[in-house]
Amino acid sequence: MKSRFFPLLMTFVVFILLYLFAYSQYSSFGSMRVVCNLLRNYAYLGIPAVGVTFVILSGGIDLSPGSVIAFTGVFCALMIERQGMHPLVAFAAILAIATVFGSMIGVLIYYFKIPSFIATLSGMFLARGGAYVLTTDSISIRHPFYVDISNIVYVFPDGGRFTFAAGAFVVVVLIGIFLAHYTHFGRNVYAIGGNETGAAMLGVPVARTIIGIYALSSFLSAFAGIILSLSKRSGDSTIALGAEMDVIAAVVIGGTLLTGGVGYVVGTFIGVLLPGVIHTYLTLDGSLTPWWIKIIVGALFLGFILMQKLLSSRADFARPLRSLRRAEEQQQPV
């Protein structure tokens, strides 16, 4: 068993057990309706979670997704409703802005050696503050394009509606997996997270990669903001408050080590859906308020962090033990 797959395996096992339990209680968990709803409702967390997976794989952290999502929504609403911009133009503009924004965070982190926690914390304040400055109102978007997009839907025979948002989520995850494992960029991210000085000495373009990682993360956050604005049909500067924490929790529950270098995008996909399953179950059950989900997710998060700690320290313990054994073996013939 390859130990780096172990956290991922744990995530899968927990997810499947949980899902089977929910299914045993409510047969609707076997329907595409529940699956499609999960994908649709969690798209706005899952899309930035793919970006944050790369950030954490590289050994960093990104606290800005929630704020970028909110800024994106407000920006789009204003551009479309007040400036009369076509939504596609507004989308292109905000994606470009976010990419530049993320690149600048990457520059701060690489060239100015500012810890990613601090750099992205300032990014979080900037984006959220920017959203509030643009407007404190919730602005409805009535552009016909928004209606057109929400009509793009595949309906399963059992009534499950696979919406545009759900599709975008799945596509982003697939692209993320591809990026991580089949491109130089992806392997460089893993290398930097494993040993940054080593990676530099092995010829990994560290500067370009780090800047790329944060640009990607911001880009995906803005994309999630667009998806959220499409489903809410409005822009609201208070939306997605604290979403970055849910995103980080999803990545960690998905088996990515906070120390960097080990993790999988597919794990993040599961990590995002896991709280969703719990949420759906609690809603159907009705005896507990959905706020319990925070407690359960907190406990899961803690459990996974402890498991990571144990895994990494067991590797450290094994070494001196091995050498001790070896020393004893050597002594015997004497």
Binding site: K2, R187, A191, G198, M201, L202, G261, S323, R326, A327
Partner: protein, 506 residues
Amino acid sequence: MTVNEQPQAPLLEARGLTKSFVATQALSDVDFTLYGGEVHALLGENGAGKSTLIKVLTGVYRRDAGTILLDGVEIEPGNPRHAQELGISAVYQEINLIPTLSVAENIFLGRQPTRFGLLDQRAANRQARELLKAFHIDIDVTRELSSYSVAIQQIVAIVRGVDLSAKVLILDEPTSSLDRHEVEILFSVIRSLKKRGIGIILITHFLDQVYEISDRITVLRNGQKVGEHRTAELPRLRLISEMLGRELTDELSSQDKSRARTESEYEDFLEVRGFAHHGKIEPFDLELRKHEIVGLAGLLGSGRTEIAHLLFGIQRHDKGHAFINGRRINLSSPQKAIRQGFGLCPEDRKAEGIIDALSVRENIILALQAKLGWFDYLSLKRQRELAQEMIDALRIVTPDAETPVSQLSGGNQQKVILARWLVSNPELLILDEPTRGIDVGAHAEIISIVKRLAKEGKAMLVISSELAEIVDYSDRVVVLRDHKKVTELEGDQISENMIVQAIAER
């Protein structure tokens, strides 16, 4: 090996390499010649210039003067990557690979085979397997690097270096954390590299291994080349003399040490039986007595600092026991050692000793406060008194007790560290290279302080690379070689020659 019998053009030739840093001349006018297919050992003590030479060759440092020729063509390596492209690769002791990536990915990182523009993991795995098989290493290349032993990781690093079309391979202390079997594996890899005509520069402190694998030896001392020899023609004794900078004389005890103290004055303090730490130091016995200075001599990497660390609990011993007055004591952490009345002045003053930003007074109070615990408060007045006492007693040159210690000279910083232990009135003081990097005047003062402390009744254990110094103040000298205590010299036996011979014996 008869590779070098017939004259052949050198593979790598460095002439007149010179490099200086702010205060020190790290290399002065050093020549170095490496032939294809030879293992060339680069030897010298701390500060000899080995690592500077390597860093100049691999482009980490820019040389101030001199030329480097590779295959007769002058080269100008600008950084390690550039040097690698030219054909010079280095594998360092702390392996600079990615522990979390697979073996194959580590070998090919940055130049993975692609198919239709995408990474072709399968091709990478296949090629990695073939590369390793050429060295008779058959492992699962898809497993992460960290799941393999240090030896395999070293070999993976070497394979990567060689596959980047290396002509010159530099191995910096490759065997220091390997056991005998792993060394064999590594050496067989080195031998097959020789057959391919690759020139190998080997830095190691294991002289046995130098004689086992190397064809020629270059010795550096204080930034200068002091000798270049065929290994087979260089007696061990001569090699060590060159490394330590000692001319061998015929008489064995040249200095007449009139020692005032006699056996009866010593008072037993610490007794250590069979202390060891696997891979760092083999089991040794040691007795330390009050009023006595014990010198710890040996080459760099022979285990001197390791002994200090074991006694002080920085490194946990995995075998053996320690006794004070026949009572067994626990030395598993520095706190416990301090409670037994031990003090340690570490080798690396800057990193382990002084705390730059704190004042002289605060630095001096540190150990005492740690001994008292954080709740037993020392009044500021008392702190000032203690600091002033020490400044006077050790003649620390400082404007006042509140000056940040970073503003003091090296010698005075060393005195501050000594003072730190002295205020807590230790019974045993361990000094690791107390005179390194301080000027001549301060040097003599530190030595007289060491002598005075012993006279006042402390047990002293002093580590030094300077034989003259050790011979001067030691009442007993413990000699180490290759992580092993080889002998103890006492009284008239103590001389530089005897120490050198003890190190050279096999």
